[in-house]
């Protein structure tokens, strides 16, 4: 920032160093790895060694093999469902926060965000024990009388992944929705009230449309975080809960096919970029992008 004023040689050398670093750091540690990764997706594997000859084989396999596309699609549907559940729970909570005044509003917001700081792995483990056969959920449902006996419906399948991811990601939905609700000028709501609108009408015609950008940001946050997760499906998914992230991860472990894994990552990246762009596009209209 002081480039125009520096005169001493030591300072000039320093600013040159900073310039080089400012360009080199992001390029070397972010751009180059991603570029190599992309190039890898065009290689292949022969008997455990990587063949460095360009081929489209990985992409052809992704689109033609009967396994991958359905899992890919199911995972997208799963993550959209997670986003919907998170928003359905987060919206009322965020709205409730904005009805509170001053200190309480932020204290409660903090309270709802603190669980984010808690170890991700431990939370998955705890949720699994809650959902399990001997878990709290089954005990509660049996006690209320909804279930006759404990059910295995909630663990080691797709439902388990859906529930666990939703539980883990709710705070990511609360924050953007809260911020967009908080930005709605009180004068608009008062004007609506003065003009004789009922509370419901004000909500549907003023508050809800103005908070949609926050909802869009929330949806894209939650979707991106859910689709990139491979720990949760691995932990609570069992054998039937197979997601794209798990398949991708296995290419670098048991299946040992790095180039194919790279190609799957490219597919994942494309979906993620689309989700981020959609979130940006609809999340921005009133400057509520986070």
């Amino acid at each position: 920032m002081s480039a125009g004023v520096t005169t001493q040689p030591a300072e000039r050398r320093l600013s040159l160093l900073v310039t080089v670093l400012a360009f080199a750091l992001p390029v070397i540690f972010v751009l180059v790895p991603l570029a190599i990764f992309l190039v890898y997706s065009f290689f292949s594997v022969d008997q455990g060694t990587i063949v460095y000859a360009p081929t489209l084989g990985n992409y052809v396999r992704f689109f033609t093999d009967p396994i991958f596309l359905p899992v890919f699609w199911n995972t997208i549907v799963l993550c959209v469902s997670v986003a919907v559940i998170c928003i359905l729970l987060a919206y009322p909570a965020a709205y409730f926060l904005t009805t509170l005044r001053g200190r309480w509003r932020y204290a409660l917001l903090m309270l709802l965000l603190v669980p984010l700081l808690m170890s991700y792995v431990i939370k998955i483990y705890a949720i699994r024990s809650i959902l399990g056969l001997n878990g709290f959920l089954n005990k509660a449902l049996v006690a209320i009388g909804i279930l006759q006996q404990p059910s295995t419906l909630f663990v080691f399948n797709m439902n388990a992944i859906l529930l666990t991811l939703s539980l883990l990601l709710i705070p990511f939905a609360i924050l953007p929705i809260f911020l967009s609700l908080e930005r709605i000028p009180q004068t608009l709501l008062r004007a609506s009230d003065d003009l004789g609108a009922s509370g419901l009408q004000t909500f549907l015609r003023i508050t809800l449309p103005l908070s949609l950008p926050g909802v869009a940001s929330a949806a894209s946050f939650v979707f991106v975080l859910a689709i990139g997760d491979f720990l949760t499906p691995q932990m609570v998914g069992g054998i039937s809960g197979f997601t794209f992230g798990r398949i991708l991860y296995s290419q670098f472990g048991t299946a040992y096919n790095w180039p194919f894994g790279a190609a799957l990552s490219v597919a994942l990246a494309i979906v993620v970029i689309c989700a981020i762009l959609i979130g940006e596009r609809f999340g921005r209209s009133r400057g509520t992008s986070v």
Partner: protein
């Protein structure tokens, strides 16, 4: 928002309570089990005990992993705060190329960690760098850099330009201006960024799993143990970590929210 009638407020309060219960139930499980024994899903409330905490003090495996995590966290904080601040100072007020470079810095934060982690894994292999704590630190730094950068840049942007001009008018060199004017003004943003960076590094699991060598950090160690089930002393550790992170969170809020705003809000 007083326009709402009573029943809807009650409905909202109920949903909010439900959300809070849902969010806290997974935290509740390990904390309760750190003080009480649980068998077959039933808590034995009659005999609270601190034995899990004593067992933790003797679990060298976990303590080593905790130490590794702290070392990685500190290295990550130093690297990311230094480079994030440099980048923010450099890009601030510069138009050409800034948006592209800024986008590149944000990529690892926006992309799913599995993609950043795998890209780094292949990168390290190609340049012949063995997987070790160094690769973990690089992975974490790349991941948290965007947060530190953004925190410092926002403070820079809110800093009055006249301060720097006054310093030059009074005859200070660029170096003096930097040490005496710019850096002190940035310090609280840097501390806030450092705390966020540490918190993110402390719990980073997915990138770490991919780029770690033989020494593993705490989350990766827990992940490996989880298949077999945890010993009770892990619950004690979790309870301690939770208290620690809440403390960090309060500290971060203190440094990141400017004081006058905090008083305005309360």
């Amino acid at each position: 928002m007083n326009a709402l009638p009573r029943p809807s407020t009650i409905f909202l309060a109920v949903i909010t309570t439900l959300v809070a219960v849902l969010l806290y139930s997974p935290l509740f499980v390990p904390i309760v089990s750190s003080f009480f024994t649980i068998s077959h899903g039933d808590v034995d409330w009659s005999s609270p005990t601190l034995s899990t905490y004593r067992a933790l003090a003797e679990n060298h495996d976990i303590l080593a992993a905790l130490r590794t995590t702290l070392i990685v966290g500190l290295c990550t904080v130093v690297l990311s705060v230094v480079s994030g601040t440099l980048l923010a100072l450099y890009y601030h007020g510069r138009r050409s190329g800034r948006s592209i470079l800024q986008f590149i810095i944000f990529l690892p934060f926006l992309m799913p960690p599995i993609i950043s982690g795998l890209a780094l894994l292949i990168f390290f292999r190609e340049i012949g760098l063995e997987r070790s704590l160094l690769t973990v630190v690089i992975g974490h730094t790349v991941f948290v850099l965007a947060i530190v950068y953004r925190t410092v840049l926002m403070r820079l942007q809110s800093m009055s330009r006249t301060l720097v001009e006054a310093s030059y008018d009074l005859g200070a060199t660029g170096w003096q201006t930097f040490w005496r004017i710019i850096l002190p003004n940035l310090s609280s943003a840097m501390v806030g960024g450092a705390i966020l960076a540490f918190a993110l590094s402390f719990d980073e699991t997915m990138i770490t799993i991919l780029v770690t060598g033989t020494q593993s950090t705490l989350p990766v160690r827990l992940w490996a143990m989880m298949r077999l089930g945890f010993s009770p002393d892990i619950n004690a550790l979790v309870a301690l970590i939770l208290m620690f992170t809440v403390l960090l969170c309060v500290l971060a809020a203190r440094f990141l929210i400017p004081r006058q705003m905090a008083t305005e809000r309360s």
